[in-house]
Symmetry: C2
Amino acid sequence: MDHSEFDLTLVLPHIARLNAVLNRSRLVERALDELGVTLDRPGLSVLVTLHMAGEPLRIGEIANRMQVVGPHVTRLLHDLDRRGLVRKIADPADQRARLVELSPDGTELAARYLRTILGWLNEAVADWTTDDRRAFASLLERFVKDLASRLSTLDDPPGA
Amino acid sequence: MDHSEFDLTLVLPHIARLNAVLNRSRLVERALDELGVTLDRPGLSVLVTLHMAGEPLRIGEIANRMQVVGPHVTRLLHDLDRRGLVRKIADPADQRARLVELSPDGTELAARYLRTILGWLNEAVADWTTDDRRAFASLLERFVKDLASRLSTLDDPPGA
DNA sequence: TATTGTTATACTCTATAACTATA
DNA sequence: TATAGTTATAGAGTATAACAATA
């Protein structure tokens, strides 16, 4: 008991700092600069979401994965569409919905962006052992999953 | 080489998801609800920064630790001051500067908030072994430090 | 009637620029 | 002249509300 409280008190500042580094270090903006691209962060996030999905997605599904609300995605897609980075195609299963897919340009941009970011991450952990990298990946995944799960139960404590 | 690329490709989505959980899960807002407090997220962040410092801080130092810009902190302090959660005291060493300290109310609020958040974190990892918690804390700290370090070198590659 | 998406609007958070006062 | 802070303004990012079209 004492040990766990102790550990987490130590963990909290690191989580906060990681959040700050990710949000305010201009990490994304610098990667885009290196690629010579003018694009905002949320727009890029749509591209990456589609790239990682590996298949066309519905607007609502993009919003889900980005953890944002539908109308926001609609707006971002306007810009991406105008630039020719994505395009909307019909959803054969539902005439109300549209599927969004990456254009070749969009695919290449997302791939180059991810390579840049991954390159920096790799350099950051260049002197880590393979075991440490694996352990970190595994523990981080577990932590995020358990945290998200615990937080989601805060929404619906009806059985109590 | 292959292994590290492989690992990091797996890590990236988890980092992104952690970021989303932290920023958009209303984690902070829910904690404040439970405490019956009406306060915005950045204001609370000032309180937590002061609480973790354990001593009065200058405005610029608060901005540094929060990774934001000076004028933003000034504005947040207006509100916190009006609510009696912080107060400004003279800096004996420099008449230009002011030191900001938590009031008793502010101290209690920050402490209760941190207890709530830490409680949820503890519940999230309730079934982890002590070893796993320690390993995670240690690897996360190292990762954040190495990442911040690598990113800071992107600013100044003058020797190249 | 429930769901997918769009349009229009408003709000939160943070930055930049111009300025004041002390060092 | 450099530094600490303030005021005023602007911008990015995201949400809510009202609506249209299809299921």
